[in-house]
Amino acid sequence: MTAMFDKLTQYLAFDFTKNALIVGVLIALCSSLLGVILVLKRYSFIGDGLSHVAFGSLAIAGVLNFTNEMPTILIITIFASILLLGGTKKKLSGDASLAIISVASLGLGYLLMNIFARNRPNLSGDVCTVLFGSTSILTLSKSDVIISSVLSVLVVLFFVFFYNRIFAITFDEDFSRSCGVKVKLYNYSVAVIIAVIVVLSMNLVGSLLSSALIIFPALTAMRVFKTFKSVTIAAALISVFTATLGILAAIVFGTPVGSTIVAVETVGFLIFTVIGAIA
């Protein structure tokens, strides 16, 4: 026990550990806020689909030798908007288009990586990193930290300022429209934010697991809490707590960060399910 604690304090003295924690907590915070909207709107799978798109676009960016991820973010944003707005009325086709875009980009992404990066020494290792997150997030660069922090703060501010509108529109789009609220603009903003968060969380947990960060806290909170305000606050707290615990556990046990966080979140979900069933 003391050995574990020593290891932790030793690691926490380093800047890169602190960075990892800051970034991890911020990303967890904003993805959980977004998750509340997505889960309630029955869009749980969008995060998953988008992260596959992110994987595909990352492959494209790699082929084209782009070093930053901005093009990736853009492509996903466009996909996200199409999916969100195309899927509002026609449920089935929205579902189907999500599935198609999702698997197509996953397949194409891997194909592209194979064709154009054959001479890379550790292709399967790279792919694994993209899909499941790096084995440690202790490799974050200074610019990663700054970008993640700024975007996270923006997302949280968006939530605070539009909280009442977010509730109203999520609960009943038609009623909001009848009040003259610009629902379309809001849907576009949410689509853009989803894309940004998915890309951010890929750094942390990888593309396959990024939707866990989005949907788990909201679903967990909904097991126990029954008002929108309490669900939102609880989801944020649960997310920050599980992410912190997951990152620290990953450091202590040397496990991959993404899957450790998801494991902690799964346990949290089960605990809340039991509490919800008893209460």
């Binding site: 309630l40 009442n164 509108r165 509730f167 009623f175 429209r177 009848s178 003259g180 008002t227 669900v231």
Partner: protein, 232 residues
């Protein structure tokens, strides 16, 4: 001056025309029932009045300082709402969203209005309860209270008794009647022609044949309308 006047209105989606040549008007204090078969375009007309769908041709005029966003709307319940975590107060308060304008938060007067309308619908005891755990009739009262926050003048109700048991249906009708008597104009979409005849002052029948007039006129012409629809 009529609150709403529809002149030769064509409703529909995109290029698909649902209903042509609709003429009717709604005056302050009216209780208008819009009746017709499923698929006859009742909901399309309602969405057009609310400004959710464009008017394909003709004109909808608003008088009495009204605009389409001043109408209190009671939509049919959606799948999303069935397991939505929200308190009754949160839902009713969201009826004030038009008054948010640029401010991120509701004003004290908005909250007061929500409390008043909750009282008006006699659901004060449910104020802190979770919306999804209420009965169908209670949920409709919550949504009606929300609609009242959005308007003091005119309510548009889309099948307000759909899925309610007979007792809740009666209670809902009598609540709406009271609101109408307190001076609020009611426009209600309904399947229930007997209730329409019982409560409405005016009836708009849409379908293959269109009728608009007072309830008395409708009763006179009703059998003609039905026969004609069978022939058509």
């Amino acid at each position: 001056m009529a609150q709403i006047r529809c002149i030769d209105v064509t409703t529909g989606y995109g290029s698909h025309v649902v209903q042509e040549g609709l003429n009717f008007e709604v005056n302050a204090g009216d209780y208008l029932c819009i009746v017709g078969e499923n698929g006859s375009g009742k909901s399309t007309l309602m969405r057009t009045i609310l400004g959710l769908l464009p008017v394909l041709s003709g004109n909808i005029e608003f008088g009495d300082n009204l605009s389409s966003t001043d109408i209190g709307y009671l939509p049919q319940q959606t799948e999303i709402q069935r397991d939505f975590p929200a308190s009754v107060f949160e839902v009713v308060l969201s009826g004030n969203q038009a008054s948010l304008k640029k401010s991120p938060f509701y004003k004290k007067s908005d909250k007061q209005k929500a409390v008043e309308n909750i009282e008006r619908m006699r659901i004060s005891n449910l104020s802190k309860k979770c919306y999804r755990e209420l009965s169908g009739g209670q949920q409709q009262r919550v949504l009606l209270a929300r609609a009242l926050c959005a308007t003091g003048k005119i309510l548009l109700l889309d099948e307000p008794v759909a899925g309610l048991d007979p007792q809740s249906t009666e209670e809902m009708y009598s609540l709406i009647e009271q609101l109408n008597k307190s001076g609020i104009t009611i426009i209600m979409i309904s399947h229930d022609i007997s209730a329409a005849i019982k409560y409405a002052t005016n009836i708009l029948h849409i379908g293959k044949l269109t009728f608009f007039g007072s309830t008395e006129e409708y009763i006179d012409k009703r059998s003609d309308l039905n026969n004609a629809e069978v022939v058509l």
